[in-house]
C-alpha cells in the first residue's frame, strides 16, 4: 500500500547511491527528509516528547519533519556527531554518547526501516551470516576464525588452497595513506605467530567459473553475473574493477528461496550477497552485506534497484506490536 508519509534518509551529503533513491522519490512526489546525524547538534535540531509514541520534529535549516509523519527510515551512511570546536575531549566523548543514545534512540524507535540499524549491525558479523546461511542449506566455504597460529597453519595445510579475508571492511590508514585488505591467497608456510595478534578468518578457496552479485529488496531479487578478466579480479573482483564484466543473470529457485530465508532470518529487507558459481555449477555463498553498494550494478546491467528501494520505502509494513 502506498502512502504519503515522509521517508527519512540518514546519510551524509556525498552519497551518490542515496541520491539515486532520493531522486526517484522526488520523481514520485514522495516527501523526503534527508539529514546526516553528523550534523547534530550544530545544524540538526531534535525535539521529541513522549505521549502515545514519540512526537516532535527533526529540523535542518529551513526543512523540518514531524516525527509522527515519518513513514520509513533509510539507513545509508550517517557520519559521526560533530560538536563545537571548543569542547574538550572528555566533554566531546560524553556528548557523543548522549547524542548517540538520544538521537540514535529516537530514530531507532521508528517502526519502519530499510534496514533497521540494529539489524544491519548484527548481520554484518560474518560469523553470524555464515552460520545462518549454512543452516539454511546454502553451501558455505570451510571457514576458520582464530588467533591461534597453529590452528591457522594446520587449516591452511589441510586444504588445496586457502584465502585470508578480513572480518570487516575497515581500511588501514598509516604512513599518510590508506590501504585496503582484500581476499588474499595464503601460503600455509607463511602463516606465523602474527596471527595471534587479532582475530583472523581463513577460508577454503572455491574454484570459480564466475561470481554473482545478488541484490534483494523485500521480495524482489536482482542478480548480475560477474566475470573476472584478470588474476587479481579472479581472487577478489573488488580489487580490480577495471577487469570485470557484468551481465544480467538468473538465480536458481533453490538458491533464491534460501536467500529470501536468510534475509528473513537476519531481519533484513535489503541486502547484497556474493556467490561463487563453481565449474560444476554449484552456488557457494560468500557473504551478505546488509548495507552494501548497488548503484554501479544498476548502471552496469540496468537493474531497477533504486526504484525497488523507493517502492520499499513507500510501502507500509504490517508490523506486530
Amino acid at each position: 500500500m502506498s502512502c504519503e508519509r515522509c521517508v527519512l534518509v540518514l546519510t551524509h551529503q556525498f552519497d551518490p547511491t542515496a541520491d539515486y533513491v532520493v531522486e526517484e522519490l522526488n520523481r514520485r512526489g514522495v516527501p523526503v527528509f534527508r539529514c546526516n546525524p553528523g550534523d547534530f547538534p550544530q545544524a540538526l535540531n531534535l525535539t521529541a516528547t513522549l505521549g502515545e509514541g514519540w512526537t516532535g520534529s527533526l529540523r535542518l535549516g529551513d526543512r523540518e519533519v514531524r516525527l509522527e509523519d515519518i513513514g520509513c527510515g533509510y539507513y545509508r551512511r550517517p557520519t559521526v556527531f560533530e560538536f563545537p570546536p571548543g569542547m574538550s575531549e572528555p566533554e566531546r566523548k560524553w556528548a557523543a554518547s548522549e547524542a548517540r543514545m538520544g538521537v540514535g534512540g529516537i530514530v531507532s524507535a521508528l517502526r519502519q526501516w530499510l534496514n533497521h540499524p540494529a539489524a544491519i549491525s548484527r548481520a554484518e558479523y560474518k560469523p553470524v551470516q555464515l552460520s545462518v546461511a549454512s543452516a539454511l542449506g546454502l553451501r558455505v566455504p570451510r571457514t576458520l576464525i582464530t588467533n591461534n597460529p597453529s590452528y591457522a597453519a594446520e587449516f591452511a595445510a589441510s586444504l588445496p588452497r586457502v584465502v585470508y579475508k578480513p572480518l570487516s571492511s575497515t581500511p588501514l590508514a598509516e604512513e599518510d595513506s590508506v590501504a585496503m585488505i582484500y581476499t588474499t591467497p595464503v601460503d600455509a608456510r607463511l602463516i606465523d605467530s602474527s596471527v595471534a595478534h587479532t582475530a583472523h578468518l581463513f577460508q577454503e578457496w572455491v574454484p570459480k567459473e564466475y561470481e554473482v552479485r545478488v541484490t534483494v529488496v523485500d521480495d524482489r531479487l536482482f542478480a548480475a553475473r560477474i566475470d573476472a578478466k584478470s588474476a587479481t579480479a579472479l581472487v577478489d573482483w573488488r580489487s580490480d574493477y577495471e577487469n570485470v564484466t557484468y551481465m544480467l543473470w538468473e538465480v536458481p529457485t533453490t538458491v533464491k528461496l534460501s536467500v529470501m530465508s536468510l534475509l528473513d532470518r537476519l531481519q533484513l529487507r535489503f541486502g547484497t550477497l556474493d556467490f561463487v558459481v563453481t565449474p560444476a555449477n554449484e552456488w557457494v555463498f560468500l557473504e551478505i552485506n546488509p548495507n552494501g553498494q548497488w548503484a554501479w550494478i544498476e548502471e552496469e546491467v540496468g537493474l531497477p534497484i533504486a526504484a525497488a528501494i523507493a517502492d520499499a520505502l513507500e510501502r507500509e509494513q504490517e508490523l506486530d506490536d
Binding site: 540518514l10 551529503q13 556525498f14 551518490p16 547511491t17 541520491d19 539515486y20 532520493v22 522526488n26 523526503v32 527528509f33 546525524p37 535549516g61 551512511r77 550517517p78 557520519t79 559521526v80 556527531f81 560533530e82 557523543a96 554518547s97 538521537v103 540514535g104 534512540g105 531507532s108 540499524p117 540494529a118 544491519i120 549491525s121 585470508y164 578480513p166 571492511s169 575497515t170 581500511p171 588501514l172 590508514a173 598509516e174 604512513e175 599518510d176 590508506v178 590501504a179 585496503m180 585488505i181 582484500y182 606465523d192 602474527s194 596471527v195 595478534h197 587479532t198 583472523h200 573488488r238 580489487s239 580490480d240 574493477y241 577495471e242 552485506n289 548495507n291 552494501g292 548503484a295 554501479w296
Partner: protein
C-alpha cells in the same frame, strides 16, 4: 586511523572517518598477519570534491559540469574514493563511497 565507533548512530556499520595518520607499521612482533595482505586500491577514480555541492531543495548531491550544477547520481555510481572533505573542514572521508562493500 581512529574509527569512532562509539559515536556511531546508533549501532550500525562502522562508517568511520579516517583520521590522517603518519604512524608507520609496528614491528613484525606486533603487526597482525592480516595486514600483510594490505594493498593500495587500484582503479578507483578520485573525486574532486571542490566541484561537488549539495542541492538542499532536491536533497541530492550535485556536481559542476560546463558551468552548471547537475545531479551527481548519474556521474558517480559510488565507485569513488573521496580524498578531501566536502566542506573543507574535518578529516578525510573514508572509502565508503567505493563499491567494494
Amino acid at each position: 586511523m581512529q574509527l569512532l565507533r562509539e559515536n556511531q548512530l546508533p549501532l550500525g556499520r562502522p562508517f568511520g572517518e579516517i583520521e590522517p595518520c603518519s604512524e608507520g607499521p609496528s614491528s613484525r612482533e606486533t603487526r597482525p598477519f592480516g595486514l600483510s595482505c594490505a594493498t593500495k586500491p587500484a582503479g578507483i577514480p578520485t573525486a574532486d570534491l571542490s566541484m561537488v555541492g549539495y542541492d538542499s531543495e532536491r536533497q541530492v548531491g550535485v556536481v559542476q559540469e560546463g558551468g552548471e550544477w547537475v545531479s551527481l547520481a548519474k556521474h558517480s555510481t559510488g565507485q569513488t574514493k573521496t580524498t578531501t572533505h566536502p566542506d573543507g573542514k574535518g578529516s578525510n572521508d573514508s572509502d565508503t563511497d567505493q563499491t567494494e562493500d
